[in-house]
């Protein structure tokens, strides 16, 4: 199991776990983590699963692909550490990953 922590805009942290291969979005939905809407269900088509990756995790998580960059245009307050959680697959390398969710997805 891989542990990941979602920190909401008020600073409240929720640590949940998923199995390698699941997307970060799926882990959030499975545990009903607030702050992730995921309207399109993971098709990289809605930008409502936007997260900010903590700086020290940026390298391990990697950069968004061009389709994800395009979809981030539909998100708000996009920052250099913005990612769509449906495009991040969790693995042992991402155990203890920390991401922040925005105040609003849409």
């Amino acid at each position: 199991m891989t542990d990941v922590t979602f920190i909401d805009h008020t600073g409240e942290a929720r640590t949940v776990s998923g199995t390698a291969g699941m997307t970060l979005m799926e882990v959030a939905i499975k545990h009903q983590v607030p702050g992730i809407d995921a309207e399109c269900g993971g098709a990289c088509s809605c930008a409502t699963c936007h997260v900010y990756v903590e700086p020290e995790w940026m390298e391990a998580v990697g950069q968004p692909a061009s389709m994800e960059e395009d979809m981030l245009d539909f998100a708000f307050d996009v920052r250099p550490n913005s990612r769509l959680s449906c495009q991040i697959k969790i693995s042992d390398a991402l155990n203890d990953l920390r991401v922040h969710t925005p105040a609003r997805q849409s």
């Binding site: 309207e39 088509s45 960059e69 245009d73 539909f74 998100a75 708000f76 105040a103």
Partner: protein, 350 residues
């Protein structure tokens, strides 16, 4: 009440939502000689399948090991063609009212475009609700909406001689930047990066206009608005380097795509449970007799939000709809494989 002169469209069934479930409802109703009109807020047919994932493969449609959202929509359109459904696209239903008259119960439905319908039965197949423009979470943006901030352009003339800030990097943003450039006093296009998802020729044209000094292109995001009483005077922005700057403007058009909201469904007098419409599992009828809810918009014990569940719900709702529309006719259960009369309706007999 204002008097409307335009003709009211009369139909047996009115289907609200032209996604896969609404489309298949046309088929099930059609086999029972029930004529349907469909309304959808999107300018195209197919609902989420066409809007959110036209190219995404779907693996759980019975009989199709894999089919994309758009293929499924295209196939459904082909399947319902014999029943000549009529579509009213780009319109949102604002009111649904039930009237009891001497001829029985009739529903009066009106859209935001002023189209009016009189239907014997209504099927709500509205999926996740209505697709509506995403609103940027900018403080106080609400107080500028419809005076200075618009999510759609109804009339270009309304923007004549204004300083228009268009925010976004897709086709809507680019198209309106190009269209308004000759009408507005000045158009500024702002996007978070120097890459655009829009049609390449639009992007090329925009860059040409910028090079000629006819419009401005800025990189950044809007963080706040300046102005008073709904009158915008400037947008506070930050660049990707986080540096703050401001853009004087008196109109702003944000184009950040669409999101699903329940919308006016909440005002149709139907019982709701957590933004879903509770129905029974025999007829998929709502708390209002004669109004059915099928597909993702409904809820009942054990509900699964699957397209295939919506198809089943459409078939059963159609059976009950037949009782409302043809109260004196006995409904005979028939198979399309063997029934001559069903095959005639499908145009495949003789």
């Amino acid at each position: 009440m204002t008097e409307h002169n335009e003709a009211v469209i009369k139909t047996d069934a009115l289907i609200i939502g032209a996604g896969p479930v609404g489309l298949f409802a046309v088929f099930e109703l059609g086999l029972l000689d029930i004529k349907a009109h469909l309304i959808d807020i999107l300018p195209k047919i197919g609902g989420q399948c066409a809007e959110l994932y036209p190219e995404k493969p779907i693996y759980d449609i019975p009989g199709f090991p894999v089919v994309t959202g758009q293929q499924l929509v295209d196939n459904l359109l082909q399947q319902i063609e014999p029943f000549h459904p009529e579509f009213h696209l780009g319109e949102m239903v604002v009111s649904v009212a039930r009237h009891e008259s001497e001829q029985g119960v009739l529903f009066h439905i009106e859209t935001d475009a002023g189209t009016r319908f009189e239907a014997k039965t209504v099927l709500v197949a509205a999926g996740g609700g209505s697709f509506q423009p995403k609103k940027p979470p900018i403080p106080d943006i609400d107080s500028y909406e419809n005076t200075s901030v618009f999510y759609a352009v109804r009339q270009m003339e309304s923007l004549r001689d204004h300083h228009v800030l268009i925010v976004g990097g897709g086709d809507s943003a680019l198209d309106w930047a190009l269209n308004l450039q000759s009408v507005a006093a000045r158009v500024t296009l702002m996007h978070r990066r120097d890459e655009f998802r829009a049609a390449p020729h639009s992007v090329a044209k925009m860059r040409e206009l910028v090079a000629e000094g006819k419009m401005d292109l800025l990189f950044g995001q809007v963080t706040g608005l300046e102005g008073a009483n709904g009158q915008l005077t400037a947008a506070k922005c930050k660049g990707m380097d986080q540096a703050a700057f401001r853009v004087p403007c008196d109109r702003m058009l944000p184009f950040f795509g669409l999101t699903m909201k329940l919308g006016p469904i909440a005002e149709w007098g139907l019982n709701l449970h957590e933004n879903l419409i509770p129905v029974d599992t025999e007829k998929f009828e709502t708390s209002t007799p004669g109004i059915f809810a099928i597909g993702d918009i409904n809820t009942y014990p054990g509900k699964l939000k699957l397209i295939l569940s919506g198809f089943h719900e459409a078939a059963l709702a159609a059976q009950k709809a037949h009782r409302y529309i043809y109260p004196d006719k006995r409904l005979l259960f028939q198979y399309t494989t063997s029934s001559t009369s069903l095959q005639k309706k499908l145009g495949v007999n003789g």
